[in-house]
């Protein structure tokens, strides 16, 4: 069951009616039941992995909390007796115990994710290395499907345990309440990667029916559906055709497909987020925003603060900071240069970001490409600033902003070639064709539009796609400039949006791109 399906409409309507009719103290129980029903419909065989992750992190969370409490109790009881050094020593003893619990938790959770997602990739690479050494042995691939949302809920549960370890939140003692935090249906399949601190109170408190909240949530859902079925799925037809057999297409078609893919993936993923956040708002729970107009970013680092925000924040707090604060990394910094730990941290984060998206080298290249750009921006920030001063560039000029935005979009779009292509070989072919075999003649342009429908309706199809895309980005431009025209006429907007969805929506293509991650 995905968000854009008739089954989901029935599911959500039944859940909402029941949610506001039952006694409020049982609302969270209904959400838990609903979340498991939602997951079971989508991925029944993989409930077992969700159970494992929930139970393991629940137990670890409770154990970590007990150790923190025991430490505080000892320190309080013996406050008059202990010297400063002894207090430090006592804290260290408990810290070591907590670290052991956390490591067990990480090994199990990341281990399950690692085996399910990366086993075949790892074995393929071992086989390639053996072949390189002259040993011909093929490890058999194990054919299994990846459990729905495993990359997302693993990060949610692991993040929770690290937060309890760092004493940034209290552990949840009720396993059912904790299970709701992990499985909450709007977030389970594609995020956002929520934090326990932000979600816990909202998930378990009582919620009254609020028509403003329902209206806002419903409107947000409609925006999401529009982005998904009118823009993303329409452009997706073109992208899938061209990227499905890139060798059959010329440079111009490949360029179109690459630009369309940037719009498709944004409307697909942010459309999903709009639906998820809207549905969550309807039940009174405010989730973290995951997008903030990423294609208006003026630099790559800014782009990553606006795109998949919760994933970036997760990597920052749970991977980047621990790596560059580690003693070994600091030692390297002292030995060589202060910037070295930051570069190591960034490389680790971007390599992991690439691998998080999928077990394939083209995802690794995509991650490292962005990592390299972020590192270059970091290392040469002062050089760029000096250049701007010497060239008398007004940083606040609108034209300069537009140039920076376009430059960032082009850099991001190049990375999408590696992200979307089936493998590295096809990706390099596409780059080569776009750079060296671009032939923007009138005839080529006509042919380049054909992949939309493969007949003479392609131009009309293209027109609708472009108008819908323009609609999405005009709204974003207005919002970026803090102009609130559309919010004043919400009912009219709902009618227009519904009409457009029904007229131009591409129904039947219900899966979202990020579901596979």
């Amino acid at each position: 069951m995905t968000f854009v399906s008739f089954r989901f409409i029935i599911f959500l309507s039944s859940l909402l009616i029941t949610y506001f009719l039952i006694p409020k103290k049982y609302q969270w129980c209904l959400l838990l039941l609903g979340s498991y029903v939602f997951y079971a419909f989508a991925s029944p065989h993989f409930l077992v992995f969700l159970f494992i992750s929930t139970i393991v992190t629940y137990i670890c969370g409770v154990k970590l909390e007990k150790l923190s409490d025991a430490c505080s109790k000892r320190l309080e009881e013996e406050s008059d007796v202990l010297t400063k050094e002894q207090r430090k020593e006592l804290k260290m003893i408990f810290m070591r115990k907590k670290k052991l619990v956390l490591i067990i938790c990480l090994v199990i959770n990341i281990g399950v994710l690692g085996v399910l997602k990366y086993f075949n990739f790892f074995m393929d690479n071992v086989s390639s290395m053996l072949r390189f050494c002259g040993i011909s042995y093929e490890f058999p691939n194990i054919s299994w499907l990846l459990p729905l949302g495993i990359s997302f809920y693993t990060f949610i549960t692991v993040g929770y345990c690290i937060d309890v370890y760092r004493e940034m939140c209290k552990a949840q003692n009720n396993i059912f309440k904790y299970a709701l935090f992990v499985s909450f249906f709007p977030q389970i399949s594609q995020g956002p990667i929520n934090r326990y601190n932000e979600m816990s109170v909202q998930l378990y408190e009582e919620h009254s029916f609020d028509h403003i909240r329902m209206q806002n949530g419903g409107y947000r859902v409609l925006i999401g559906i529009f982005k998904k079925v009118v823009v993303a799925d329409r452009l997706g037809i073109y992208v899938n055709r061209v990227y499905g057999a890139p060798l059959d297409y010329d440079g111009l078609s490949l360029l179109f497909a690459t630009v369309f893919y940037a719009v498709q993936i944004y409307c697909d993923f942010s459309g999903y987020m709009d639906i998820a956040i809207g549905v969550s708002e309807m039940v009174g729970i405010k989730m973290e925003e995951n997008f903030n107009k990423p294609y208006f970013s003026r630099s790559i680092p800014e782009y990553w603060r606006r795109w998949h925000i919760t994933l970036g924040a997760w990597f920052k707090d749970y991977l980047f900071y621990p790596v560059i604060r580690a003693d070994w990394c600091k030692k390297i910094g002292k030995k060589y240069k202060k910037t070295v730990p930051t570069i190591i941290g960034l490389l680790v984060v971007w390599l992991t970001t690439g691998l998080w998206h999928g077990a394939s080298w083209h995802y690794v290249i995509h991650g490292l490409y962005h990592g390299t750009l972020v590192i270059l921006s970091f290392l040469f920030a002062s050089v760029f600033n000096n250049m701007k001063t010497k060239l008398h560039i007004n940083e606040n000029a609108k034209l300069f902003h537009i140039f920076q935005m376009m430059r960032t979009f082009v850099l991001v779009d190049i990375s999408y070639i590696f992200f979307r292509a089936a493998n590295l070989k096809e990706a390099t072919y596409i780059v080569n064709e776009i750079i060296f075999h671009l032939n923007p003649s009138k005839e080529a342009l006509k042919t380049a539009l054909l992949p939309f429908t493969e007949d003479n309706t392609a131009i009309a199809f293209f027109g609708v796609a472009m108008l819908a895309t323009a609609g999405v980005f005009i709204c974003e431009i207005l919002d970026y400039n803090h102009i609130t025209v559309f919010k004043k006429h919400k009912y009219l907007n709902v009618v227009i949006m519904l009409t457009l969805i029904l007229l131009f929506g591409m129904f039947g293509q219900s899966s979202f791109i990020y579901m596979q991650y």
Binding site: R166, M168, P301, I324, T342
Partner: protein, 79 residues
């Protein structure tokens, strides 16, 4: 060490890390007020303050810090 002295020393660290001699920090100064104070510079800043005052921030402090006043509070506690 008085709070004023702590602030003066923190201010020197800020100017050094952000390479900006015009920075004048206050209790309520946050990342929004200083150009370039992002997650990369945040960790560099924390390292520099640790070195300056010979203290060590835990991860909870690094992530949750809201403003310069809170940095000064922790330094006052630690030294």
């Amino acid at each position: 060490m008085s709070r004023k002295e702590i602030f003066e020393r923190i201010n020197i660290v800020f100017r050094d890390v952000f390479d900006n001699g015009d920075i004048c920090i206050e209790e309520e100064t946050t990342a929004v007020d200083i150009k370039g104070w992002d997650s990369l510079m945040h960790i560099t800043l924390m390292d520099a303050i640790e070195e300056e005052f010979d203290i060590k921030f835990d991860m909870k402090t690094i992530i949750k810090l809201k403003n310069v006043g809170e940095i000064a509070d922790i330094i006052e506690e630690e030294i």
